[in-house]
């Protein structure tokens, strides 16, 4: 690290658990973020400013006026732009020293595996079950840790799946691949600060998983009911009948 980097990251280098070596580890890390909307905004902004050396962003959407209430990566001058382009621009202003790869593509089952083999952690900031199940299946198959967050209305949830470790539950253990689609933010609404809270917890968990420190949300699901100000955390075990993680491991 040069003097400018030591100063830029000084407030977290001060933390004894991080120190210069932890910061160097973050600078050497590569994180894949699927979706740069409400959750992807705080996730990518905090990971960029924290000095995660290489961020890979995947999204296929354009900035819409209705996004600006909560997708704080974007501003009014960027309406109509590809989100990936606008996001990269903003993140490089926040931290010009990190590398950002922007992929303008929808994540689905056909998405190339190569990318997953090159990253340390994947962050799920998508907005629908189909993407979440496809992303989980890829992370299980390739053994990449997955930090999953979701928010809708006044409620949100975060979990960490350490899919690089044996006997880790996966997203499919939680929802058992229910085909039913549920509501989206476009239909039932979402409160802006809620995605900030949930996305910030995801970013925090990414740092802890990258540095392998502290108590992560691995094997747990944290739920937040913002309207009633209730937090709830319950433990989650691998489903012995899960067709995604158990089949893969037995092959």
């Amino acid at each position: 690290m040069n003097d400018s980097q030591l100063l830029r990251y000084s407030r977290q280098i001060l933390l004894p658990q991080i120190d210069v070596s932890g910061q160097q580890q973050l600078l050497n890390s590569k994180v894949l973020i699927i979706g740069v909307g409400g959750l992807g905004s705080p996730v990518s902004m905090y990971l960029a400013t924290s000095g995660i050396g290489h961020l890979v962003l995947v999204d296929f959407d354009q900035v819409d006026l209705s996004n600006l209430q909560r997708q704080i990566l974007y501003d009014t001058t960027q309406i109509g732009q590809e989100k990936i382009v606008a996001a990269k621009h903003k993140l490089q202003l926040l931290n010009p020293e990190i590398q950002i790869t922007a992929i303008n593509q929808q994540f689905d089952k056909k998405f190339a595996d190569d990318l997953f083999n090159q990253v340390d952690v994947v962050v799920d900031c998508s907005d629908n079950f189909a993407t979440r199940f496809a992303l989980n299946a890829t992370c299980v198959r390739l053994g990449v840790p997955l930090i999953s967050g979701a928010a809708l209305r006044w409620e949100g949830q975060v979990s960490v799946f350490l899919l690089n470790q044996a006997n880790s539950p996966c997203y499919n253990c939680l929802y058992n691949d229910c085909e039913q689609e549920t509501e989206t933010c476009n239909e039932v609404g979402i409160l802006a600060p809620l995605v900030g809270i949930i996305g910030s917890i995801q970013a925090l968990e990414v740092i802890k998983v990258l540095l392998n420190m502290g108590q992560s949300l691995a094997g747990k699901l944290l739920r937040f009911d913002a309207y009633n100000n209730k937090w709830h955390q319950a433990s989650l075990k691998q489903d012995p009948t899960c067709p995604v993680c158990n089949n893969t491991k037995s092959v």
């Binding site: 799920d124 209305r153 039913q180 549920t182 699901l221 319950a234």
Partner: protein
């Protein structure tokens, strides 16, 4: 036997309850508990259930003093 049933977030409005206690004599599964408190509605697959702060399946059997919590699905982002 008595168990406590809790509903989280938007399920409170959907079910019209925050917390309730039910009494029963036979062994009950999570699925049956849901039916008992919602006047025989089918428990949707994507609703998560925790028994004593541990995620459980719809077939999990509960016992005296257990706390059963139901959570709505959240997929937005």
């Amino acid at each position: 036997m008595t168990i406590t049933v809790k509903f989280f977030a938007s399920l409170r409005e959907q079910v019209g309850k925050t917390e309730t206690q039910i009494e029963f004599s036979d062994s009950l599964t999570v699925n049956k508990i849901w039916q008992q408190v919602t006047a025989n509605k089918v428990l949707p697959k994507h609703i998560l259930v925790a028994v004593n702060q541990e995620y459980a399946s719809q077939d999990t059997t509960v016992k005296e003093g257990d706390e059963v919590a139901f959570f709505p699905p959240v997929t937005g982002g």
